[in-house]
Symmetry: C2
Subunit: 110 residues, 2 copies
DNA sequence: TTTATATATTGCAATATTACGATATATAGA
DNA sequence: TCTATATATCGTAATATTGCAATATATAAA
């Protein structure tokens, strides 16, 4: 009891859930927002942008990285982070499909 | 300690995180998938589609509803559920913007 | 080599989520 | 009214997440 029953769902469903879950925290949305606002790779600096302690930010970055939403390369003393296109393209496609699907369907009964 | 520090983030960031979080579980992705596959409102029947006990499914439906991802209307004995366009359009727009943003930027350094 | 800086890991407390049995509620139909 | 069916709520155990202090690691610069 308590743990998510991943084995009952498809690989696609589990994968999508993992990506969505990674975005399911305001600090991690804020990190993505920041990476988008600077519009380039950013080396260091992310910890100072967030109202959280360094270990907490490090943890959030790890989760975004595990979900494939960001990439990080060691750049001398700091780490250079940036958005990972592919993951966001996957999400864009998923929600684009849903929007199209819903528009063609008859989901207007509620 | 332990609780998410929502007060430090913008309303947009918190809202988006809430929606993403609601999709951050395979059972809830499966519910959305099912509602899309039937392509119409579905009255009752959702519990039988999932490999989880009825109270658990009820809980997941509640979370999707709270996040605004689905709508539910009482229809006699059963409840009629369907996808909520608006929430998914919000998500589509968000990820569409990110894709565009990233393509125009110089995020290819990593 | 020593010191400063950046990031990760560990350990732990507080809180949240997941799942389900038992039970409540509410409508439909006999 | 009584019974069946559909869904929600309650209570609770198992597990996961969040946040941070302390500490480890690793590179840069002095």
């Amino acid at each position: 009891m308590g743990a998510t029953k991943t084995e009952h769902f498809t690989e696609e469903q589990n994968e999508l859930a993992i990506i969505a879950k990674a975005l399911g925290h305001p600090a991690r949305i804020a990190i993505i927002d920041y990476l988008l606002s600077v519009n380039t790779c950013i080396c260091g600096d992310i910890v100072n942008e967030l109202p959280l302690a360094q270990p907490t930010v490090s943890q959030h970055l790890k989760e975004l990285k595990n979900a494939g939403l960001i990439k990080g390369n060691i750049e001398g003393n700091a780490i250079c982070y940036c958005i990972n296109h592919e993951a966001f393209d996957t999400l864009r496609q998923y929600f684009d499909n849903i929007s199209k699907h819903v528009k063609n369907g008859k989901n207007n009964c509620c």
